[in-house]
């Protein structure tokens, strides 16, 4: 049992779940405590120890299914069924005869181990392939690095399976055993392929998702930002200024109540001098404000730019609610514009963003590349007090979305929020990668008009 558990933990680790030795030990001890009446009990114990958040449970379920459900087990209804041991021996014989370990590639080796019921090496290989980052190319952009890696792996699997099945057909004389060996081999190959073709998956039912909502506000507040007339811009700015004042008022009131901290001995003693040293007037320290850091990442291509502009305008007007706001913009290359925006005249500065020499507005939007650059530039400075806000329609022109990078960012920060300025019914259409990206966010909000943007900002600061 323990042996099997350790191997299972190894598979979990290969599939990017963090399982520590302590957890394996705990789990083994707990399995002795609970009477295991059915598979569900067993799975519950394992899951409570190995997957420590709802998000990870999906990965756990995948590995669990792969490891415990796909072992060579003889079919019950088959009268000629051969016991699992014999099948196992058959496979080992097959591998021994056929495979020469010296000149096997890593992928072939992994798959061979998987056929034997130990998928850890194969999982590890696929995991690395899936989280690999696209290399930066100067001349022609392509997103084929990951695809070609997957393709060659697929080919290796097919070749090996075909060769094995061929071998079994030629050498195995017992028909029952022959069928079972072939079944087993094709079942494994099937599983291996599905592991490769599917993107890493997470349960997303804890994701906060705010879609389109109807509200009874003025026309300006519900007018789509993407179709905003230039002559309405000034009205819009005034409206933002009004909202900002309102929010700041609310903030101030709230802090006044919340801010009383512990007693200030120094001041109390000083005051007590007035009353012959009796501390009647007790003074308290004001609590230091714990303020969040904000990092924004804005798509500024085409119609998304208007929404980005208003979001940045809003954030920078409320700058004193946060300890630091850093901003990055991208079309395909990432540019930091924090310095540019740290002026009292935000709206003027925003108009100058587009003339930044680093921004090539004619390039095609590439989210994957922008995230990769963000990772190299800013990942080190993120911490658990940072909230990352990404604004964009996730339309990445069918280039490699590199969603794995978002998962790495998520691990570093407090919260990750995606604002999508498109109307909700178009989110999952065409070249939008939002389905890939949402798995890694804490919150996904629509922000196609000012009223939705205001709702979001209010939740952020209050």
């Amino acid at each position: 049992m323990l042996n099997s558990l350790i191997k299972f933990a190894e598979c979990c680790r290969a599939w990017d779940l963090r399982v520590s030795t302590i957890e394996v030990m705990d789990c083994a001890a707990q399995l002795n405590l609970v009477p295991i009446r059915g598979e569900n009990d067993f799975k519950t114990v394992l899951r409570a120890n190995f997957a420590k958040s709802r998000r990870e449970q999906k990965k756990f379920d995948q590995v669990y299914h792969l490891y415990f459900h796909q072992r060579p087990i003889p079919l019950d209804h088959d009268r000629e069924a051969v016991s699992g041991e014999i099948v196992k021996e058959g496979i080992e014989k097959l591998l021994e005869e056929f495979v020469n370990p010296e000149n096997m590639t890593e992928a072939q080796h992994g798959f061979a181990r998987m056929i034997q019921g130990e998928p850890a090496a194969f999982l590890d290989h696929v995991q690395r392939l899936q989280s690999a980052e696209e290399k930066r190319q100067k001349a022609i952009k392509s997103n084929l690095a990951q695809l070609s890696g997957k393709l060659s792996l697929m080919l290796a699997i097919s070749q090996m399976t075909d060769r094995f099945i061929d071998q079994v057909k030629r050498t195995e004389t017992d028909p029952a055993l022959r069928r079972q060996l072939i079944d087993h081999l094709s079942d494994r190959a099937q599983h291996a392929r599905s592991l490769i073709s599917r993107e890493p998956d997470y349960y997303t039912d804890m994701l906060v998702e705010t879609g389109d909502t109807q509200s009874g506000q003025t026309d300006l507040a519900t007018q789509p930002l993407s179709t905003m007339d230039p002559h309405l811009m000034d009205d819009m700015k005034e409206m933002i200024a009004r909202l900002v004042r309102k929010l700041k008022d609310q903030m101030a009131r709230r802090y006044a109540v919340k801010n009383r901290g512990s007693i200030d001995v120094k001041q109390t003693l000083r005051r007590s001098a007035k009353f012959q040293g009796v501390p009647i007037d007790i003074r308290y320290k004001a609590r230091e404000k714990t303020r969040a850091k904000i990092v924004t990442l804005c798509d500024i291509s085409g119609s998304v730019w208007t929404a980005s502009k208003f979001m940045l305008h809003f954030l920078y007007s409320l700058q004193d609610c946060f300890s630091r706001v850093r901003s990055f913009v991208f079309v395909s290359d990432l540019v930091e514009i924090t310095d540019l925006l740290e002026t009292p005249q935000v709206s003027g500065a925003l108009d100058r963003v587009m003339s930044n020499p680093g921004i090539n507005t004619h390039a095609r939007t590439d989210y994957g590349m922008a995230f990769q650059q963000f990772k190299h530039q800013a990942l080190r400075e993120l911490d658990k007090k940072t909230t990352v806000i990404i604004l964009g329609d996730a339309r990445s022109n069918y280039q490699n979305p590199q969603a794995g990078i978002l998962s790495q960012i998520r691990e570093k920060v407090r919260r990750m929020i995606w604002l999508n300025p498109e109307p909700q019914h178009t989110w999952y259409t065409g070249d939008s990668e939002i389905r890939q990206y949402r798995k890694h966010c804490h919150e996904l909000c629509a922000c196609s008009n000012l009223s939705q943007l205001e709702d979001f900002i209010r939740r952020l600061v209050l």
Binding site: P35, A48, K52, Q57, I263, V265, G277
Partner: protein, 301 residues
């Protein structure tokens, strides 16, 4: 041991009117048996906090609750020195202090004498225990509920680690406080942010989802014994369908109960479209949700 086996957990929880699934019962049993904390995740209103309350009732232990929020610090969660009391005592015993140092010949000697008395002012008497310290210094074991731990700051989370692994806390002036009894610790999280690996490693994980329709029917019937079978079935079927929609806030168990209660108050024993539409605001708490659900209500009943 308080529970004999998993079945016993289910039975005892049911006796305090909490219906636990097999999974919940198994994890609770393990947590009690191995004295490990449980980290509970799940949507709002599925009975995460309620589980802690039910456990405290059926184990007959006191429930100590710590609600987490941004800015929660040690002084609020663990202990605080009662400065005001210390100052007042200093005033009151001033004469006594003068007496202690009255025959000291030099200043250093006087300081030494006061120093030898200083423990009197940093003693248990002036420590005001907050929930976490209360939980480990209680002579009878308690249930400690750390609610919405995801709302707390990373600093607070780091400092919980000592408590969760060894159930001890360190007060600089008094030293390390060993636990008198080991509390049953329950942490709940709404996934506002991810918890650190270190914290997760110390806990057993439990995800509570919306209950299966059969279990939810049982819950409603238990809370409202007089309700008709047909109404419960229709109600839960509709609620389950509503949960399948994309809403700002999905109805939780307490909303099912509220809905049933209001229908009983209207003396209905089955769910009809007009009644459902009229009482829908007990289930949907946002106007936009209400409109969305009302549009599709006829297909759901």
């Amino acid at each position: 041991m308080p529970f004999n086996d998993v079945k016993d957990v289910q039975k005892q929880l049911e006796s305090v009117r909490y219906i636990a699934s097999q999974e919940i019962a198994t994890v609770v049993f393990l947590a009690v048996a191995t004295e490990k904390p449980i980290l509970i995740e799940g949507p709002a209103g599925v009975g995460k906090t309620q589980l802690a309350k039910a456990l405290s009732m059926c184990l007959d232990r006191q429930l100590i609750r710590l609600q987490c929020y941004e800015g929660l610090d040690e002084a609020k969660a663990l202990y605080e020195w009662e400065y005001a009391k210390q100052l007042l005592y200093t005033q009151m015993v001033k004469d006594r202090i003068n007496h202690v140092i009255s025959d000291a010949r030099t200043l250093p000697e006087a300081v030494d004498r006061i120093a030898s008395q200083e423990d009197a002012f940093f003693s248990e008497r002036f420590v005001q225990p907050r929930p976490l310290l209360q939980a480990i210094s209680s002579p009878d074991p308690v249930v400690l509920l750390i609610d919405e731990v995801d709302k707390s700051d990373p600093e607070f989370e780091a400092f919980l680690l000592e408590l969760l692994s060894d159930f001890q806390v360190t007060i600089p002036e008094l030293g390390t406080r060993k636990p008198l009894t080991i509390p049953l610790v329950i942490l709940t999280s709404n996934n506002y942010r991810d918890m650190s690996d270190a914290l997760k490693r110390r806990c057993l994980h439990l995800y509570i989802d919306y209950p299966e329709p059969e279990i939810e029917m049982e819950i409603v019937r238990m809370k409202l014994p007089g309700i008709s079978v047909k109404l419960v079935e229709q109600l839960i079927r509709t609620i389950t369908a509503i949960r399948g929609m994309e809403l700002r806030k999905k109805p939780c168990i307490s909303e099912s109960i509220d809905w049933a209660r209001s229908l009983i108050a209207l003396e209905k024993d089955e769910l009809t479209l007009p009644d459902a539409s009229a009482t829908l605001n007990t289930v949907c708490k946002y106007r936009s949700d209400l409109l969305k659900v009302r549009q599709q209500l006829s297909q759901m009943i």
